[in-house]
Symmetry: C2
Subunit: 361 residues, 2 copies
């Protein structure tokens, strides 16, 4: 199934206000003090409204880990050699990475997508161990020119939409986003700076753990990239093309696809949320389908979450990416689905209710 | 197996510093930026040190929901009728409560213990649907006299220890605490006030959702109970007897038992943490085995967590009790166990490591 970007963007529907109301009324009648499961009930309401049922199901969970390389690493913005992207893809496939362990705990499958790793991964794709949507072998160095062409940017988005479509067709009911790409906090900060207008210094952090000198260099590189490429803040595809990344576009597309197909999508940390920001700018109603997994240690992540008006489920000082935050949050999403699907109301449970706490819609 | 309180208190060992060190060194060699899974790695280190292995297992999870009634409800401190304790026990057994739904998502079993519900639950106990450790039909009204005798307080603690011992013998590797008892934020606040010396007003909240007038009354009732009973701050058993509750003692005992048997125990919200505070005052090293599930909406819960120096895993505006927070956190504990048990090191994964980030013990 090949879906064009503009069809998807136009086809995303806002959540049904009617189902929100029905879910809220139902949840307000559970045999507990009113709304005493807090954010878990907010989430249950969202799931019910997305799936248009009071018994939303989130079976067949999948975390999609999108991998890509970044030309900008030539500027010395990361502590890690570029090869690590490739090595980590092999680690994902071998099952030895953080995302494998955490997805295992959540009962989720990990799907690795090559959006643009700077190496030949055809053999892994032929073996069915990864999905290949390779746009190129790493982006261009945004400090010297655009990261990719506009056509490539659209391709990344449509590739992500395609992956979402394929997984939904296979019966996946809950998606999570993830990333792997050495250097990819740099384009993520760049995207955030452009879309919000915030100064680069305020949205640029230490990624895998760079020192002060490297941080200053990273800020300088992003500032130069913005000056040179002049991305158009009002045109998210242009922003993605000029200062984004292949996997960031893939993630944005995956989120748009999830929203189009009415499947909730758990958004991981800093890089994934850069993709989510792009998705929101393309289709504001896509936010209704997003669930913020956690607050990353990468400090500007809170700016992104604020921009999306999303409250994260977890805050555990994580900053790994790969989709680890999304995987960890998936069990909370399942708990929310079970709360609305399985809990009894006052009446059904035969529990006395304090009239003063009664729900009035 | 009947274990005496003093044997257990003396028998709890602090965590092995050697195993902590070994776990920390191992986790610092995982193929990720140093400690980039944050609190999940702190937890993995704790699990490894508790279980004295680099592959800690947390199978056969059980949340123990301890139920009891409180004579102090006669003072009008709650919005709910006392019968709700009994009705909720039936809801737990029927599988329709919040704890059932959330434990289901975590793959955990719910074990309901009657510590002192003000009703006859013998039939449920005979059917094996609950465990009966009934100390009495509700505590005495602490505004008029002690909640229970000193002997009863010791009985509640030893009952909790016994439940822990039985479950550990059955192969349970992860325990969680939970409570059910209309009015039980009142004794919990009282315990907190005595043990910390904080003013009653600063540690008393709205429980199931009382109004200003009822809150003022609740504060007055606790102040009166402290004046009348004069619990000895330095004697946790006396505090439990004078102003505690049967289920609070059971929870404290369960935690002590878990620590004695070297099983990690996930501590739920306000009421459970009152039990944890008592456990800590009886055996300070018991804290090493505790995992704080979440920060409750009951605002004084943060004082309790501070007192225990525990950082909670979740903060989702929950305030239900039953063990719902503990159940929700159990999957995070499992993720931590899998992280240390399944993830590969730089060397094993063949991932290049930045020397500047290398771990030096």
């Amino acid at each position: 199934m090949e879906l064009k970007l503009d069809v998807v963007v136009k086809g995303i529907e806002p959540l049904s206000a009617d189902w929100r109301r029905r879910a809220r009324a139902y949840l307000s009648n559970l045999a507990i003090p009113l709304w005493s499961l807090g954010q878990l009930l907010d989430l249950a309401e969202q799931l019910a409204a997305i799936k248009q049922t009071l018994k939303p199901s989130v079976r067949n969970k999948v975390v999609v880990t999108m991998a890509g390389d970044h030309g900008v690493v030539a500027e010395g913005v990361s502590t890690c050699p570029q090869d690590v992207t490739l090595q980590m893809v092999y680690n994902f496939v071998a099952g030895g990475a953080g995302i494998n362990a955490i997805a295992g705990a959540a009962g989720a499958r990990v799907v690795v997508v090559d959006m643009g790793v700077a190496a030949d991964l055809d053999e892994l794709a032929r073996q069915g161990k990864i999905i290949s949507c390779k746009i190129g072998r790493g982006t261009g160095n945004m400090a010297r020119g655009p990261a990719m062409t506009r056509e490539q940017a659209v391709q990344t988005l449509e590739a992500g939409i395609g992956v979402a479509g394929q997984l939904v067709q296979e019966g996946v009911e809950l998606l999570g986003t993830g990333d792997m790409g050495i250097g990819n906090t740099t384009p993520s900060s760049a995207v955030l700076a452009v879309l919000t207008g915030l100064p680069v210094r305020e949205v640029t952090g230490r990624g895998t753990g760079i020192d002060d000198e490297t941080l200053d260099r990273k800020i300088g590189v992003i500032e130069r990239a913005l000056e040179l490429n002049r991305p158009d803040r009002g045109d998210p595809v242009d922003v993605l093309a000029k200062v984004g990344g292949f996997e960031i576009g893939g993630i944005a597309g995956l989120i748009l696809g999830a929203a189009y197909f009415k499947v909730p999508v758990v958004v991981d940390g800093f890089i994934s949320t850069a993709g989510a920001l792009l998705a929101k700018r393309l289709a504001p109603q896509a936010v209704d389908y997003m669930i913020a997994a956690h607050r990353s240690m990468e400090f500007a992540h809170r700016q992104m979450l604020q921009e999306l008006s999303l409250r994260p489920l977890l805050d555990l000082d994580m900053r790994l990416g790969e989709g680890t935050g999304a995987a960890l949050a998936m069990n909370i999403v399942e708990a929310a689905a079970r709360v609305i699907g399985e809990m009894l109301t006052f009446e059904a449970a035969g529990v006395a209710r304090n009239e003063s706490l009664e729900y009035t819609p």
